[in-house]
Symmetry: C2
Subunit: 151 residues, 2 copies
């Protein structure tokens, strides 16, 4: 008896919110494990990627772009600054702000993280064809756009 895992209840098996959550769990596990090889977490990657693409920015701006909370942003920038991947300096034009800038070491690190992340994506999407992946990304993007617009 006990053939292994046991199916969840039918109600749960077709529940879109639960399926999304389970998929996110698997995805996060893979991503966390990959980033863990470089000793960083998701917040660090998101911040470095955003800085690389948009250039220097205040912590508040970075929070708006990444979705990282103001409180966690402080800790994340602390980490990255301590590791030498970003530089934090007061903005002379608006002294409430810190201007956060990615360093050369940060760019190098980001390049390595990109590869780790890419591998994790492949592992996550492994059971899906290229067309399926596009469809999934499209659907999730629409869901995200819809739910982010409204506050």
């Amino acid at each position: 008896m006990d053939t292994g895992e046991g199916q969840p209840a039918q109600r749960l098996r077709v529940l879109a919110s639960r399926l999304t959550n389970q998929a996110a769990l698997a995805a996060n596990r893979l991503v966390d494990q990959a980033l863990g090889q470089a000793g960083v977490r998701r917040y660090h990657y998101a911040l470095l990627a955003t800085l690389q693409e948009y250039g220097s920015a205040s912590q508040a701006d970075l929070g708006r772009r990444t979705g990282i909370d103001r409180s966690d942003m402080v800790a994340t920038v602390n980490d990255l600054a301590e590791w030498g991947f970003v530089h934090r300096a007061p903005d002379p034009d608006d002294r409430r702000r810190n201007v956060v800038t990615i360093t050369a070491a940060g760019r190098t690190q980001l390049g390595q993280l990109d590869e780790l992340i890419s591998g994790a994506q492949d592992a996550y999407l492994a059971p899906l064809s290229t067309a399926d992946r596009k469809t999934l990304i499209d659907l999730l993007t629409r869901l995200g756009a819809y739910h982010n617009e409204k506050k």
Copy 2:
């Protein structure tokens, strides 16, 4: 300046793991808010639904079916038992086990939770057509099946 939210970096915008996570976040918020109206959390719903469909079971079995950890299972059953929605008794045939059984009050509660959950699903999937919803559920199911098989 500062037109509102600000887009995340391109790298992040097309990242399947991140899109899944963002969607899961929105879904969970809606579900948590709905269940919160009844004073319960997702674990409580998952457990009641599983008991309703499969009948009485040991905590270990329930953990396998729902994905709830053995440790959290203790607390979840504690809650439900305290509220009178389940009954917990030692299994006479295997005295290591607790047999957990849903009560009449639990069934009634589950019926109300089903409605709350259903409303949350509609809110979550609002931007998608019926066909899109089917596609999404299919893709997520395949991802879940793939990642759960392998341990």
